[in-house]
């Protein structure tokens, strides 16, 4: 319990550091983004520039003319109310509402692709560790080398050229077809799956290699340990050694990496989601950065940071649960 509280405290400190850092770094970027909007507002509504400026600043909960600590106080007050501000280019949408749309899609795609690539990686990695030579090992090594040399967005482009433009098997953009009504019904679910096939495939193709190599390394390490040797000498069949000894022990570090990878992938891969115009976190991140929508960008970054911090916390706690040697002092 003590351990848990201490980890939680560390995570909170991390969170505070992240909030302040993101805020300050974004403020240090040149240019007053409120100014052109205030000018436009002043001429549109026929009010003075100062008044318009005040209004715009209030709307975005951000006034660049205030001293930076006051801005920070204003921002943090907003955060505590759950107010992340409003998208600059789309004033109708609050950042929170955009997040609540984008986050579920990213979580959906990321968790499915992580599960698939994790399972594939564990199986193939273990297989590689057992069969040190031979065709399986060589072909997996070949695959991993090729895939790690090609950036993920190239794979996304190749997939969309083949399956979207040539074979016309999958849609070009979006998260589900406009013909279905969102809800718990079969056509909707099928449509969602249909639209997510290509992003998921891209993630799986690019991330499986890493899992395979990680698992292979971990398995080889376990296979070389004395207790596995002792089990073999005792005549425990190979199958049981693979399952109960090697895989189980080799997977302990993998599971913590999995938790952390999940946190890291919440950012989505802007380029992958961008290629398929899959409106998750990554796509919005790319959009916000491209259109200089700093408030939205700030909100997305904060959300990603929180998920990374949370994932690390989960990984820490999981690790101490899985490995008795790390049991809390």
């Amino acid at each position: 319990m003590n351990y848990f509280l201490r980890k939680l405290g560390t995570s909170l400190l991390n969170l505070i550091a992240v909030v302040v850092t993101i805020f300050i770094v974004l403020r240090m970027m040149p240019g007053d983004i409120i100014e052109p909007m205030a000018r436009e507002e002043a001429s549109r509504l026929g009010i003075t520039y100062e008044e318009a400026y005040e209004r715009v600043a209030d709307r975005y909960n951000y006034n660049p003319q205030e001293p930076i600590y006051q801005q920070l106080v204003r921002y943090v007050k907003g955060l505590l109310r759950g107010d992340l501000g409003t998208s600059m280019l789309n004033p109708k949408n609050t950042v929170v509402s955009i997040l609540s749309v984008a986050l579920p899609w990213t979580i959906f795609v990321v968790s499915i692709s992580l599960i698939i690539s994790f399972i594939l990686g564990m199986q193939l990695g273990a297989l590689m560790a057992i069969r040190k030579r031979g065709i399986i090992n060589n072909s997996i090594t070949f695959y991993v080398t090729i895939v790690s040399a090609i950036p993920s967005y190239i794979i996304a482009i190749i997939l969309s050229i083949i399956f979207v433009y040539q074979l016309r098997l999958f849609p070009k953009s979006g998260v589900y077809s406009i013909d279905v009504t969102p809800g718990f019904n079969m056509p909707f679910i099928l449509s969602v799956l249909h639209y997510s096939v290509l992003p998921i495939t891209t993630y799986v193709i690019t991330s499986t290699g890493g899992w395979i190599l990680n698992m292979k390394g971990s398995s080889v390490h376990v296979l070389g340990s004395d207790y596995v040797f002792a089990a073999q000498a005792r005549g425990i069949p190979e199958k049981i050694i693979m399952r109960r000894y090697m895989k189980k022990n080799a997977m302990i570090p993998m599971i913590t990496i999995l938790a952390m990878a999940f946190g890291g992938m919440i950012g989505g891969a802007p380029l992958i989601e961008g290629q398929f115009q899959y409106l998750g976190m990554g796509a919005y991140l790319a959009k916000a950065l491209g259109e200089r929508d700093f408030i939205l960008y700030q909100g997305l970054l904060l959300c990603i940071s929180i998920s990374v911090i949370l994932a690390n916390l989960v990984a820490d706690l999981l690790y101490s649960k899985l490995d008795p040697r790390i049991r809390l002092e």
């Binding site: 207790y227 002792a230 005792r234 490995d323």
Partner: protein, 355 residues
Amino acid sequence: MHAIIRCQGKGLLHMNDDPRKPIMSLRNVDMYYEIKRGLLKQPARIGAVVDVSLDIHEGEVLAVVGESGCGKTTLGNVIIGMLKPTRGQILYNGKDLSQMTRQELKEFRSSVQLVQQDSYAALNPVKTLYHSLCGPVLHKKLARNKAEALKMVHEALDMVEISHEELDKYPHELSGGQRQRILMARAILMRPKLIVADEPVSMIDVSLRISILNLMAKLNKTLNIAFVYITHDFGTARYIARNGNICIMYLGKMVEYGNVQRVLEHPSHPYLQALLTAVPVPDPEIAKKKRNLPLKSIEMPSVAAPPPGCRFHPRCPYSVDICETEEPVLLEHNEGLCACHRVKELPQWSLRADR
């Protein structure tokens, strides 16, 4: 003294007319490792064990002594059947290991157990001792159910003098001595005939070593388990193998073999003499008799390219021409075996206290 040793081309030398059959025999066993050295070069062949023949009888204690890198551990792994020798036969109860059926091999795997040096690495770190001990028993169907397995485990724990409460602990929660006892318990649970103990006390506090050695002696006596005790420490070898045999190895070859007391009191091979020179003796009577053997070189030659002829000749102060060209074979000497061309001419050593 009860060993039947086959020497190169000399047939069987009956050292003692022991009617007992050996449980384990090694016949001219070679174990070469191949090390790749790039695409074009021939792989290096490293002879970790070269032409070793020995018998292990029921309830015998055999100490295998040698420097690091002389092939003792490899020999141990060959004996437990984990390494397939590149040449030669391993017989268990007269049956060749490579020709055993699945069922026989299973039996063999239970009958010959290994106790490793690093007791921490030898236990699965994420399993409690209960799992590590009961698992094999249940898996091997030595017990019908969990309750019976637990009873067996308790008996084994009593034997190695570990309290039953420790069962719920993880390996890292025990001391090195306790873990070594657990390894012994795990080994005896398989009801073995032979335990290969690979430097079981070298990682344990000196003050606790004696208790582990006593435990091994107790298991040897009460359960009639034969031990192959691999070590680099003459003191513990002499202690544990009191009435057993000792086998001295150098660069993968056996250089001397015989009864422990006799071999250590009258070392014949210059290598053994040199080794014993390096051991400080607390008894002034013996220390006075001890001679210094000036080795020509301290460096051990590479195992990958062992010197021709006698492997010890580059370091041996007694070496003559024949040592550089012809490899000596193990010959009967002084009721034991010794592989040295000049063993008959060399000054006799006696390290016995005449009291």
